[in-house]
Each structure stands twice: as structure tokens, then as C-alpha cells.
């Protein structure tokens, strides 16, 4: 159900950019070391059980214990640690030039996504989805609104904790266009297993157009009107959700200004179409048990559909 965990080869072994590549290299080296050490241990076991007496004596000697038990792991593990840290240091490097900045905040159980300008002002507010230009590094400023979450899009970078009261940095980059799944990788209670994410990499011009369009919409009034908009405001949705250009300004749930153009609903877990919108609003608790939006099963099918039709227009 959560895309980051789908597919073959597993995303960790299918990097789509330089940061993920260093993680993949590290993963292969660790796997190789693990295999080598396992082979050595199995060989030693064979010697101990079946081997010739001379070898058995050597294996039990003090020298072997010092070399195989202390020197070898000491040197190898220290070298691996130093090398691994150096290899992945670039993942958390600070902003150095004019990299794009996006603030991603972990919330129980979804991700707030805010595209920032150079001064740190919010250009576009969105949720559960990150759009990025191909071939450019993007610096994510990771935060948490409640408990510790962990941000992980395995195709694009390593895993990084989102810690309350702190900002951690994580660089991501995609070198090919496409859609890459992510997950929260730190147990955060309740429906943690249904806390997903999608990253979508566009060509650079495409991306600039996308961002400019969204920024324009944030400053304009909301499209559509009629029964759906009225029903949305009357049902109390506005207390938890923001739709730019309307009185709806709630912050407890995902920003819905662009919900109609999002690829998923419920934090990366459902496809987004009129049916799933109605199903989510009507009874999100049966889909994502324990999530912080109440089920609106007191609304009629018609009222639900009106709301869904209006939300579909929020692109």
C-alpha cells in the first residue's frame, strides 16, 4: 500500500540521485562485509567441528583470539564508521548557495510541506507530496509538531529523524523524472504504518511552472462555489483545514488549497479521485483507524459528493 516499500529492485538498491547513491554504496559494502564475516565464522565453525587437529589448535590459540576477535573487528569497524560518516556527510550539509528550501513537518500521521523563499517565507503550503526539479539538490528542513517521526524517501536520500523543537537538514536530489514513494520510518503511534509520502520529480522548466502556478493560486481566491463550498464551511472542516482564498484557515489538518491536484489522499495511502475523496470524508476512521479527522457519516451521500466536487476543483 505504501509505495516506498513496493517494487523490485527494492528502492534502497535503485537510487535515483547522488545522495541515495551514497546510501546504496554503503548498503552494498555493509552487505558484502556481512557476507564475508559470515563466511569466516562458518569456516571457523567447520574447522572447530571437523577440521584437522593442527588447525583446531591454531583456532583455539591466544593469537587467533587477539587477531580475529579484537584487532580485525576493531580496525574494520572503525574504518567502516569513518568512511560511512564521510560518505553520508553530504546528505546533511547546510545550504551553500541558492538551493531550493522546503520545510517538511511531521504531524501525527501526515506530513506538512512548505516551499520557502530565500528569506524563509512560505511560498506554497501543501501536504504529503514533494515536487522537485530534476538534477538540482533540494534542502529539506525537517521538523516535528508532536513526536519523533523520520523522513525517508529511499530513492532520493537517506533517512532522517524529525525531532520536536529542532530543525534537521536532509538533502534530496532526483536525477530522473518520476514518482518516488516515502514513509515515516520511526514509530509514532496509532496509524504510523499508514503515514506515507510521495516525491515527484519534474523537468526543471516544468517544475518552475508548477511552483509559479501554485504560488499564484495561494494569493488568489478559491475556484468553484455553490453547494460544496457551503457544505465544507458549514460542516466544520474549516476549523482544521486551510483553503487559501476562503475563510477556511485551520491548521490541525493538511492544507487543502491544492488537494485536487495531489496524487494521493490520507498521507500517501489512497489514490485521489472522487470516489476515494467521498470515502475518506465519509469514514476516514475505517480507512486509517485512529487518525485525527472524524468520520463524517452524519452527512448524506449528496452532501459528501458536493464537498468532493468542490475539493476536486482545488488545484
Amino acid at each position: 500500500m505504501i509505495e516506498a516499500l513496493w517494487g523490485w529492485p527494492p528502492p534502497v538498491f535503485d537510487p535515483a540521485g547522488p545522495y541515495a547513491e551514497s546510501v546504496t554504496t554503503l548498503a552494498w559494502v555493509l552487505l558484502g562485509m556481512g557476507v564475508a564475516v559470515t563466511a569466516i565464522v562458518v569456516a571457523a565453525l567447520w574447522v572447530a567441528l571437523r577440521g584437522p587437529d593442527a588447525l583446531k589448535r591454531k583456532l583455539g590459540g591466544e593469537r587467533t583470539v587477539w587477531i580475529g576477535g579484537v584487532a580485525f573487528p576493531g580496525v574494520v569497524l572503525t574504518a567502516l564508521l569513518v568512511w560511512g560518516l564521510a560518505l553520508t556527510a553530504s546528505l546533511t550539509a547546510d545550504i551553500t548557495g541558492d538551493e531550493m528550501r522546503v520545510r517538511v513537518t511531521g504531524e501525527m500521521w501526515w506530513f506538512r510541506v512548505e516551499y520557502l523563499d530565500d528569506d524563509g517565507n512560505v511560498l506554497v503550503a501543501d501536504a504529503n507530496e514533494l515536487h522537485l526539479p530534476v538534477g538540482e539538490p533540494v534542502v529539506l528542513e525537517l521538523q516535528s509538531a508532536d513526536v519523533i517521526h523520520s523522513f525517508w524517501v529511499p530513492h532520493l536520500s537517506g533517512k532522517k529523524d524529525m525531532i520536536p523543537g529542532r530543525t534537521t537538514l536532509l538533502r534530496v536530489q532526483a536525477d530522473r523524472p518520476g514518482r518516488f514513494g516515502g514513509v515515516c520510518a520511526e514509530y509514532c503511534g496509532g496509524p504510523h504504518a499508514l503515514m506515507g509520502f510521495v516525491a515527484i520529480a519534474h523537468g526543471q522548466d516544468d517544475f518552475r511552472q508548477w511552483l509559479a502556478g501554485k504560488a499564484r493560486r495561494q494569493a488568489a481566491s478559491a475556484p468553484g462555489g455553490g453547494a460544496g463550498r457551503r457544505q465544507f464551511m458549514d460542516s466544520g472542516c474549516a476549523a482544521c483545514h486551510r483553503v487559501a482564498g476562503t475563510p477556511a484557515n485551520g491548521l490541525a489538518g493538511p492544507d487543502l488549497t491544492h488537494v485536487g491536484s495531489r496524487q494521493t489522499l490520507g498521507a500517501g495511502i489512497l489514490p485521489n479521485n472522487r470516489g476515494t475523496l467521498i470515502g475518506w470524508i465519509g469514514d476516514s476512521q475505517s480507512i486509517k483507524p485512529g487518525n485525527r479527522m472524524p468520520s463524517y457519516d452524519m452527512l448524506s451521500a449528496e452532501e459528501l459528493e458536493d464537498i468532493a466536487i468542490w475539493l476536486e476543483q482545488q488545484k
Partner: protein
Amino acid sequence: MKAVGQIFGHAAALGCALGLAACKQPPASRYTFDAGLRDMGRHVIERAGCAACHEIPGIDWPEGRTGPSLAGFDGVGPIAGYLPNTPANLARFVRNAPAAKPGSTMPAMPISSEEAHAVAAYLYGIDDD
């Protein structure tokens, strides 16, 4: 109600006697489709998100409740209590319910008519009793 049920029962028995295709023929499921088509149906159901509103046997998650459970659907009577239960009608219904059954509260779903036939094959293949 009882009378209606009886009439329906008689009609069904008569239909069966005449060898119409649409009859329940226990214990085997009433239509058989090849496994490939049913598999495709399952994928379509997952991609379209039908389970956001329905509990569907064979789909572990989600189990939405905005629509009726489809457990035991292989043994159901008329589709949505209205349409004669045939593969063509079922495919029409799952693709565009309000067009197939005026006033239906199930919304039209973004699937092609070919995909709808695969979905129908999957639903007829439900065998959970």
C-alpha cells in the same frame, strides 16, 4: 416483502428452468472467468481505490464503510438491489453507477470499460462462504 420475495423466487426458478444464464447455480459460482482477467480486476480495484468505501474479500486494506461490504457478493441478488445480475450490468455499474442505476449514491469511478469487465470478473470470483 415476503410476497415479493416469493414472486422473485418463482421467477428465478422459472428462469433457471428455461436455462437462462443469470441464475444462481449452487454450489459453483455462477460465472467463471480466467484467472488472468480476475487478477487484472484486482489490480484495477486497488488502483481505483474501491476499498476506500467497500470491504472487499481478498483486499486486506482498507475496509471502508461508506459503501456496503462486498463480502459474499458472489451470492448477491440484483446488483445494488436493482440491476439484473449479469456481467455486462455489473461492469456498467462499477464504472458509472449513477448511469446504470438512476439515483445510485456510488460515484462514477475512473476506470475504462475493459477494466470494468475485469473488475466484474474479480467480484464474481469472490468465494468466501
